[in-house]
Amino acid sequence: MTEKPNTAKPGAGEIVLRYFAWLRERTGVSEERLILPPGILTVGDLLRWQSQRGHPFDQAFAKPEAIRVAIDHTHAKAAASIVSAREIAFFPPVTGG
């Protein structure tokens, strides 16, 4: 399958990725907007993509079992679909209270 050039208008198809706590520190990013490559359909796909994305994401995502994900402010499991997601957040297990 050949990748088509991105002809979408600015903003269309873009997703917001957010990072918290040590994931924010290790990636050096708190928020980014991007268009994901095709074929990333689930949370698990997205975690795999992050772990193969290169420095510093590969190291931050080296242990995906230690990372929690939320889709549009709702906790999501690895099998959850991200197809209609607008904002996806990555963070360690929560430690409030």
């Binding site: 957010r18 706590a21 040590w22 939320a70 402010h73 963070f91 360690p92 929560v94 430690t95 409030g96």
Partner: protein
């Protein structure tokens, strides 16, 4: 029923008075306050910084509060959680539950804290007196407490 995320401290008795005022259905009020301890495994703590996920935090706290209302006979409830830099002795979290009878007030307060610790997107970073910093790791016992509540509802 309400949830708030604040940097400022909360006034416990004012919050309780506001929550219970005029509601004569209430027969018992349970109140939990979480505070910053001065040491961690013998190491002196200088401060604790709480980060959260604005938007999701409020949504999760409201979801958790709604779940408590379904499980218990509650007349009123309140969750306040602080964020930002806190010092040893500072308040972190306030949970108030009001019910016609004490058992539901006690149980709902414990439930709210167990679920908050499991689901609400807050993260604590400790700064020690020697300058070292460390993100607090989640405790398995918190997951087990939330799992026990989930098993109870089945």
């Amino acid at each position: 029923m309400s949830v708030r995320v604040l940097t400022a401290d909360f006034a416990i008795s004012e919050e309780m008075d506001r929550l219970t005022s005029g509601n004569t259905e209430i027969g018992g009020v349970a109140l939990f306050v979480g505070k910053v301890r001065g040491d961690v495994d013998g190491e002196a703590l200088a401060s604790m910084t709480l980060e959260h996920y604005p938007g999701m935090t409020e949504a999760e706290l409201e979801r958790i509060e709604g779940e408590a209302q379904r499980r218990f006979e509650l007349s009123a409830s309140l969750i306040i959680h602080r964020v930002g830099e806190l010092k040893p002795g500072d308040n972190i979290v306030l949970v108030i539950t009001c019910a016609p009878h004490r058992k539901h007030a006690f149980a709902a307060a414990e439930f709210l804290m167990d679920y908050l610790k499991m689901y609400a997107p807050f993260w604590k970073k400790e700064t020690f007196a020697n300058g070292a910093t460390r993100w607090v790791a989640a405790r398995d016992s918190d997951d087990e407490a939330a799992a026990a509540w989930a098993a109870n509802s089945e």
